[in-house]
C-alpha cells in the first residue's frame, strides 16, 4: 500500500487536523507481554509531550511503535494523516526520514566522526555510492555545521564520537535527529545516562529546538521534575494504558499516585515559584 492510499482511508475527524494521532495502539511481545493496551493519544500542536511512568509501563514500546522499530500488533499511528502502521517497507523508510529519534544511550556510531554521525541524518536523501564516499549535498553540510554550532559543538566535526562525553554525545544525537528536519521528534529517556546539570541543559536544548522548528516532541522521561519543567503536557502510562493526560501544571500528587502508585509525592513536585525561577 502506498502512502497516498493510506491517506485515503478516512481517519477520525478529530485526528484529521492532528499532527500525530495514535489510535488504539496495541503491542503484544512474542513472549505474551502486553506492553501497550489500546493507547490513544492525539497531538494537535507543536508541543513537548512528556511520557512518564514506571519502568516497564510501556514508554519505550510506545515511542518505538511510532516509527516501527517495534512492529505494533494493532491500532493506527497517523502522522499528518498518514497511517504509519499500514505502510510498506519503502514507504516506511520514507516516513522514517520525517521522524527524528533521540536515544538514552545516544546510539551514535562510535567509530565515526561527529560530522559523519550528524550527516547520517540525511542518508535517506542520498544514494549508496554517495554514502560510501561520504558525499553529501553542500546544503546538508552547511546545515550540519549550523546545527553543530547550535548544539554547542562548533569545532568538534572531526572528533570521533567515542572520544566525547555523555552530554556531548547527546548533543550530537540531537543534531543528527534535527538534521532530518523532522515533523516529529521521538525521544527515549534522553537524560537517563547524564548527570543532573547536563540533563537540564539537554532538556532545555531539546525544548528550544523543538519550539524553533515547530516540531512536536514525544519525550519519555523518568524524572518527574524534569518533565514538569520542560514539557507542555504530561502523559502518564501505567501497564500499557494512558492513565493521565493533562498540561504539565496539572501534575498533582494524586495524579502521580495514579501513575506510579502510593508514595509521598509532595517533595517531588516542584512548587510553582521555583518554575518561574528556572525559566529566567
Amino acid at each position: 500500500m502506498s502512502a497516498a492510499d493510506a491517506q485515503a482511508h478516512a481517519p477520525a475527524p478529530h485526528a484529521a487536523r492532528a499532527l500525530l494521532a495514535i489510535d488504539g495502539l496495541v503491542k503484544v511481545y512474542p513472549g505474551g507481554q502486553r506492553a501497550l493496551d489500546a493507547v490513544d493519544l492525539v497531538v494537535s500542536q507543536p508541543q513537548v509531550v512528556a511520557v512518564i511512568g514506571s519502568s516497564g509501563a510501556g514508554k519505550s514500546t510506545l515511542i518505538r511503535c511510532i516509527n516501527r522499530l517495534v512492529e505494533p500488533s494493532a491500532g493506527a499511528v497517523r502522522l499528518n494523516g498518514v497511517d504509519i502502521v499500514a505502510l510498506g517497507r519503502r514507504d516506511l523508510r520514507r516516513m522514517r526520514r520525517r521522524i527524528g529519534m533521540i536515544f538514552q544511550e545516544f546510539n551514535l556510531v562510535e567509530r565515526l566522526t561527529v560530522m559523519e554521525n550528524v550527516l547520517s541524518g540525511r542518508l535517506g536523501s542520498i544514494g549508496f555510492v554517495a554514502a560510501l564516499m561520504r558525499r553529501y549535498p553542500p546544503r546538508d553540510v552547511a546545515s550540519a555545521f549550523e546545527l553543530l554550532d547550535r548544539v554547542g559543538l562548533a569545532g568538534y566535526q572531526d572528533t570521533r564520537a567515542d572520544a566525547l562525553s555523555g552530554g556531548q554525545r547527546q548533543r550530537v544525537g540531537i543534531a543528527r535527529a534535527l538534521m532530518q528536519q523532522p515533523e516529529l521528534l521521538l525521544i527515549d529517556e534522553p537524560t537517563a545516562s547524564l548527570d543532573p546539570k547536563t540533563a537540564r541543559q539537554i532538556m532545555r536544548l531539546i525544548r528550544s529546538l523543538a519550539q524553533e522548528q515547530r516540531c512536536p516532541a514525544l519525550v519519555n522521561i523518568h524524572d518527574v521534575t524534569l518533565a514538569q519543567d520542560y514539557a507542555d503536557r504530561v502523559v502518564g502510562l501505567k501497564a500499557g494504558r494512558v492513565v493521565f493526560d493533562a498540561p504539565a501544571q496539572a501534575l498533582t500528587p494524586q495524579a502521580l499516585t495514579a501513575i506510579y502508585g502510593e508514595e509521598d509525592w509532595n517533595r517531588t513536585i516542584r512548587p510553582v515559584e521555583d518554575e518561574a525561577l528556572e525559566a529566567s
Binding site: N67, L69, R93, R94, M95, R96, R97, R98, I99, G100, M101, F103, E105, N107, L108, V109, E110, R111, L112, E116, S120, G121, R122, L123, G124, F128, A131, L132, G173, R176, Q180, L186
Partner: protein
C-alpha cells in the same frame, strides 16, 4: 542474635565438583588415553627409525653446513614473488570476504536460504588447505604465481569472512537502530552503522591472515603455484643441502619480519 547464629548449622564440606562431574572427568581421561594408544598402534610406526634419528639429524646438519650464500641472489626474486602472492591473495580475499560476511551473519543476511549459502561458502573455503587450493588452481590457470594468488585468496576468504561475520553478529544494535530510524536503506545501514563497528576486526584479521599467507605461500611452489617453494623443492631434490639451508634461513627471515610487522600493525588498531 548469637543464639540464632549458633542455632543454625552450616555445612563444613564444600567441593568444587560433584561426584558425578568427577567420574565424568575420569571417563574422559580414559577415553583420550585409549584414543592415543589406538592411533599409535594403527599408524604402523617403524620404531627402528627412532633409534638412529639423532645420527641422521646430525648428518643432515653437517651436509647443510656451511650455507651456500652465493645462492642468495638467485632467490631474492622468488622471495619477493612469495610476498606478492600473499599480499595480492589477501587483498582479493578482503574484497570478497566483506559481502560474504554480511551474507553469513544471522542479523544481516536476507533469509535462511542466503544464510545457508553464506555458511556453505565459508566452510568450503576453510576446509580446504591452501596447498590443495594451489593444486586446484594450477590445474585451472597452469603453474605460476596466478594459481598461488588464487589459492591464497580462496583459503583466506572464508577465514576473514567467518571472523567478520562473528563481529557483525556482535555489533551493537543500538547504533544500527539509530541509523535505521533516520530512514536509511538497508545497504546504507550496513555501510554506515555496521561496517565501522567491525572495521577493527576486519583490519586486524586481514593483517594476521597476511602474515599466515606469507608462511603458506612459501610452500605453494611445491605444487607449482609460484614463489620460493619451487626453489626449496628443487634444492631438496638435488640434495643441494647447503642451498636448502640458505632458502630455509631466507624464509625464516621473511616470516619473522612479516610476523613482527603484523603484530605491530595489529597493536596500533583502535
Amino acid at each position: 542474635m548469637s543464639d540464632a547464629a549458633s542455632a543454625k548449622r552450616y555445612p563444613e564440606v564444600w567441593r568444587r565438583r560433584s561426584l558425578r562431574e568427577s567420574l565424568l572427568g575420569w571417563c574422559w581421561a580414559v577415553v583420550l588415553a585409549a584414543a592415543a594408544v589406538w592411533s599409535v598402534s594403527a599408524l604402523d610406526i617403524e620404531w627402528a627409525f627412532f633409534a638412529d634419528a639423532h645420527e641422521q639429524a646430525g648428518d643432515l646438519l653437517r651436509r647443510m653446513w656451511p650455507p651456500r650464500w652465493s645462492y642468495l641472489p638467485a632467490i631474492v626474486k622468488p622471495l619477493i614473488e612469495t610476498i606478492h602472492i600473499a599480499t595480492l591473495g589477501t587483498a582479493i580475499a578482503v574484497v570478497l570476504s566483506v559481502p560474504l560476511a554480511f551474507l553469513a551473519a544471522r542479523n544481516t543476511t536476507l533469509n535462511g536460504f542466503t544464510w545457508a549459502i553464506g555458511r556453505s561458502l565459508l566452510v568450503a573455503s576453510r576446509s580446504v588447505n591452501t596447498v590443495i587450493w594451489g593444486l586446484v588452481f594450477v590445474a585451472i590457470f597452469g603453474p605460476g604465481p596466478v594459481a598461488g594468488i588464487a589459492a591464497v585468496a580462496a583459503r583466506s576468504v572464508g577465514f576473514l569472512a567467518k571472523l567478520v561475520a562473528e563481529a557483525i553478529e556482535e555489533a551493537d544494535s543500538g547504533q544500527v537502530e539509530a541509523v535505521q530510524a533516520t530512514g536509511a536503506s538497508t545497504a546504507q545501514v550496513y555501510l554506515v552503522a555496521v561496517l565501522p563497528q567491525v572495521m577493527p576486526v576486519l583490519i586486524g584479521t586481514t593483517v594476521y591472515r597476511w602474515d599466515i599467507n606469507v608462511r603458506e605461500s612459501s610452500v605453494l611452489g611445491f605444487v607449482g603455484a609460484g614463489g620460493i617453494g619451487l626453489y626449496l623443492y628443487a634444492s631438496i631434490n638435488q640434495f643441494a643441502w647447503q642451498q636448502v639451508l640458505v632458502v630455509l634461513l631466507a624464509i625464516l627471515a621473511v616470516v619473522l619480519a612479516a610476523e613482527a610487522l603484523s603484530a605491530y600493525a595489529r597493536a596500533r588498531i583502535s
